[in-house]
């Protein structure tokens, strides 16, 4: 009986070993293309918020990490032209109707928004998903705005006394997005000298 158990153990161990080896092989072959795809995805998401005309470097490789006011680390990607910083891009997030909304926002050296794009969200299809640029142009209206324009107390959805439209049937989603962008602009204002410092 105990011999039988040993045989089964050897069989199962052999199968596990063989398929473990197979997966190691697949991982070795695909590791490099996967890393490349991740870089391409990063570049594509940065290109949406920093116009190509603004920089002569590759912002996806020029990054620094700063601590936000609440202690969270933020990775900032920097666009430079002839050595001076012309734009910054970083991720901000807000808590939407159904979980976290992740946004990538780009600002220029004066703190004006270059653009905002939605990286991921779990909002209700047909209501909250209008924050995706391909579904609704709403998210593009932030370009050109900054912390003083509109004034900071107006950086809210209309329902809260601010100046940004909410969608019909969805207030929580735009409120989270507007709040996240305002937070991102405040982060820029707090860290302006560090962010723009030449390296």
């Amino acid at each position: 009986m105990s011999r039988h158990i040993a045989i089964h153990g050897v069989i199962l161990g052999g199968v596990c070993l063989a398929f473990g080896a197979l997966m190691t092989g697949v991982h070795m072959v695909t590791a490099e293309p996967i890393a490349l795809r991740a870089i391409e995805a990063k570049q594509a998401s940065l290109a949406q918020v920093i116009p190509a005309a603004l920089h002569d470097n590759d912002p996806s490789t020029d990054h620094l990490t700063l601590a936000r006011a609440d202690g969270k680390a933020v990775t900032v990607y920097r666009a430079t032209k002839a050595g001076s910083v012309t734009g910054l891009a970083y991720e901000v997030s807000g808590s939407g109707y159904a979980g976290e909304i992740r946004l990538m926002m780009g600002v220029d050296a004066e703190g004006r928004l270059l653009g905002v794009s939605t990286l991921s969200h779990k909002e209700t299809p047909g209501l909250g998903d209008k924050i995706e640029a391909k579904k609704n142009p709403w998210i593009t209206r932030f370009a050109g705005l900054s912390l003083g324009e509109p004034p900071v107390e107006k950086w809210k959805v209309k329902k809260d006394g601010g100046q940004f439209d909410q969608f019909s049937g969805a207030t929580i989603t735009p409120r989270a997005v507007v709040g996240a962008i305002r937070g991102g602009l405040e982060f820029f204002a707090d860290n302006k000298s560090k962010l723009l410092e030449a390296r």
């Binding site: 039988h4 045989i7 089964h8 153990g9 069989i11 199962l12 052999g14 199968v15 596990c16 398929f19 473990g20 197979l22 997966m23 697949v26 991982h27 072959v29 695909t30 293309p33 996967i34 795809r37 391409e40 995805a41 209700t124 299809p125 047909g126 209501l127």
Partner: protein, 226 residues
């Protein structure tokens, strides 16, 4: 034993369809059928895994003893799924962005296990692979039809984003049938998956019943209804 490949194909795609007859694999079927394109992509990934896993299990059927077959088969399916997952991540990033989260779920799909236990572990490699392929295609058919049904009613489109999945040549099959505002939102939300599955199940039973009646009328032969 001679394997009838036409029978295998017919069983996999229609007579013994994983979703509409066996009622297995409903988790990915429900989760990934909010559009025809998603359903199609998920179905093809499952078909790929099933073909590979069935062939591997069949090749090892004399090595793996009866007592340890379940953990051994789980290892084989998991390794196949992981390989497909990594390969998609490396070579099909657009598709991976859509399906990525759900590929590991194939491990928990009952259809591959059902076919391994019922067929692949008792058959030579070729019929086992064919069974996996056709069962997978049947799953693809079910998910695509369910996805199309939900997408048309819910968002008024058909095969939206197919060009992301299949390449720019397929831009032509992306259709907008009516404006998104007119869609029944419920259909692309989770409850729509249950409602859609139920309606399509009735549809398939009606087609089967009609076909059976045709056969019976043709042979003028009386059978007892089960």
């Amino acid at each position: 034993m001679i394997y009838n490949y036409r029978r295998i194909a017919r069983d996999g795609i229609w007579d013994n369809n994983g979703v509409f007859v066996m009622m297995l694999g409903l988790c990915p079927a429900m989760a990934m059928s909010n559009s025809a394109t998603n359903g199609f992509g998920m179905g093809l990934a499952t078909a790929l895994v099933m073909t590979g896993a069935n062939a591997l299990v069949s090749a090892l059927r004399h090595v793996v003893s009866h007592e340890v077959r379940v953990p051994a088969y789980i290892t084989i399916v998991a390794a196949t799924v992981t390989s497909v997952d990594l390969a998609m991540k490396a070579y099909m990033p657009a598709l991976y962005n859509v399906l990525g989260l759900f590929i590991p779920l194939i491990v928990a799909n009952c259809v591959p296990f059902a076919r391994i236990e019922a067929f692949a572990s008792k058959s030579p490699i070729l019929p086992a692979a064919a069974d996996g392929l056709f069962m997978g295609l049947g799953f693809t058919l079910a998910l695509t039809v369910l996805g199309a049904f939900r997408e048309v009613l819910g968002s008024g489109t058909l095969f939206a984003d197919a060009s992301l999945l299949l390449g720019p040549a397929f831009k032509a099959i992306e259709m907008r049938l009516f404006p998104a505002e007119a869609g029944v939102l419920l259909m692309i939300l989770p409850p729509g998956a249950f409602i859609g599955t139920g309606i399509l199940l009735v549809g398939k039973r009606l087609i089967d019943a009609r076909m059976n009646r045709g056969i019976q009328a043709g042979t003028a032969h009386c059978t007892v209804e089960g």
